[in-house]
Amino acid sequence: MNLDHPSAGHRYRLGRLALRLHTFTVAELVRLTGIVQDTVYGFVSMLMHAPQPYLEAEQLPRETPGRPIKRYTLTEAGVDYLLRKNARLAAALREDDEVAQTSGSFIQAEAASPAEPAAAEYEVAEEAPPRYMTR
């Protein structure tokens, strides 16, 4: 994993986990990846607001005080989208593993896809390092 490239790695990890879980909460993705909540919300929000819905949201009935929590389920379109997107991210990460380059290749890979939301939609606030970097 190229440590110069945390956001590609984060996006890949989030996409991979969403594909494995299909149904998840934001808190669950945070706990499984160690990625900060804002980044995970950004990922979920991007899937929710895609031109065709990639996620369905279910509001859970709460017994304790606080804001209602949502549980999300990937739609078929969401699965297709994440499979395509992860293939591109994996290719970029592998290239980085091999040549230890900077983020240029990933940005090109994203920009090359007309079906993708603009790269800016993925940009997020400061991210914590993934857990595996700190071990």
């Binding site: 986990l17 594909l19 808190a27 709460r62 017994e63 990460l93």
Partner: protein, 335 residues
């Protein structure tokens, strides 16, 4: 119905204390799995503590007591449970969360009696039988494979957690299941049939003994997960619980093994999503591909060809993937 498969302890692990640890782990794991859907719903709806924090607390107490050698009989499951129920994490739960924990605890106390000593071996045997039945029903009809017989299981204890949590020996048609006092083992105890399904599909059934970790631990596990997801006969609540726990088990296991240098994330990444992608593109071609993989002749060179072909597909564009793999004409055709 044939006789239940043999389950025995490896000679070096056949000690009363290790038998007791197995009983306690698998009894608590079974209780936790039975009432997991209720716990998950309660925690997802009400926020902290999350269900994995609850399971983490339980696993921590259980494995601490194991490694301190305080578990010497099945009845100690009740002590572990009592300490768990007193923990701050459990006390923070909502009412419905506490109800799920209470039900799990009731199950533990009902079964943690001297007359049930040896329950761990029975749970393993049952899981092994379930795994073979499920594979016979869902996977094997699609590939050219004869009757699947349940393999004897040998239980080992690995306190350092440096081995794989299960390993199979095709030449002896045997599964070695390892009790490790680490959190991933607790998740594994909750989804035991899945662990056995993986041992059969990834390690016992393939003719090629040289298949890479990527093929066995990613491609073939993805194959199982996808089939489970599509299994309409399974109760949806139970199915969703198993999918959830299996995903967490996988992540915890990968973390554990990456930390111990037994595999790397890059090595696993080369094989991710291919099974799912292939199956979504063409189910008949996916099954042909799987049949081809499971019956590929046993030679190191062939295993390398499989790796090369799968990596080519992993990094191919959509169009190139279709050109290479649909219709499926074998790994050689991809290369």
């Amino acid at each position: 119905m044939s006789n239940p498969p043999d389950v025995s302890f490896a000679p070096e692990s056949d000690l009363p204390a290790i038998r007791a640890r197995l009983d306690v782990l698998l009894l608590i794991g079974r209780a936790a799995r039975l009432y997991f859907p209720g716990l998950q719903d309660a925690c997802d709806a009400n926020g902290p503590p999350t269900w994995d924090e609850i399971l983490h607390t339980l696993a921590e107490i259980l494995f601490r007591e194991m490694t301190r050698k305080n578990i010497t009989g099945i009845v100690h499951a009740v002590d572990v449970w009592a300490e768990f129920e007193r923990s701050l994490t459990v006390r923070k739960l909502s009412n419905s969360g506490r109800l799920a924990i209470h039900r799990m605890g009731q199950y533990v106390s009902d079964h943690a009696v001297l007359g049930r000593a040896g329950i761990g071996l029975s749970i393993l045997a049952h899981a092994n039988t379930l795994a073979t039945l499920w594979l016979q029903r869902h996977i094997l009809p699609h590939v050219e494979y004869g009757n699947l017989t349940a393999a004897p299981v040998v239980v080992e204890y690995d306190e350092a957690g440096t081995q794989f949590c299960a390993a199979s020996t095709p030449s002896m048609w045997q599964v070695r299941w390892t009790l490790q006092p680490f959190e991933h083992s607790f998740y594994g105890a909750m989804i035991l049939p899945r662990v056995f399904e993986h041992e059969y599909l990834s390690h016992l059934i393939p003719l090629n003994r040289h298949l890479s970790k990527g093929v066995r631990e990613v491609f073939l596990i993805d194959t199982l997960e996808h089939e489970h997801r599509n299994d309409a006969a399974q109760n949806p609540r139970g199915k969703n619980a198993d999918i959830k726990l299996a995903a967490w088990f996988r992540v915890k296991l990968e973390d554990h093994f990456c930390r111990n240098g037994l595999t790397s994330r890059a090595e696993l990444r080369d094989f991710e999503d291919i099974a799912t992608l292939m199956r979504r593109k063409s189910e008949p071609d996916f099954w042909r591909m799987l049949d081809n993989l499971l019956t590929y002749p046993n030679h190191e060179w062939n295993a390398r060809r499989v790796d090369e072909a799968l990596k080519l597909l992993r990094y191919a564009s959509d169009e190139k993937f279709d050109n290479l793999a649909i219709p499926w004409n074998g790994f050689e055709a991809v290369l």
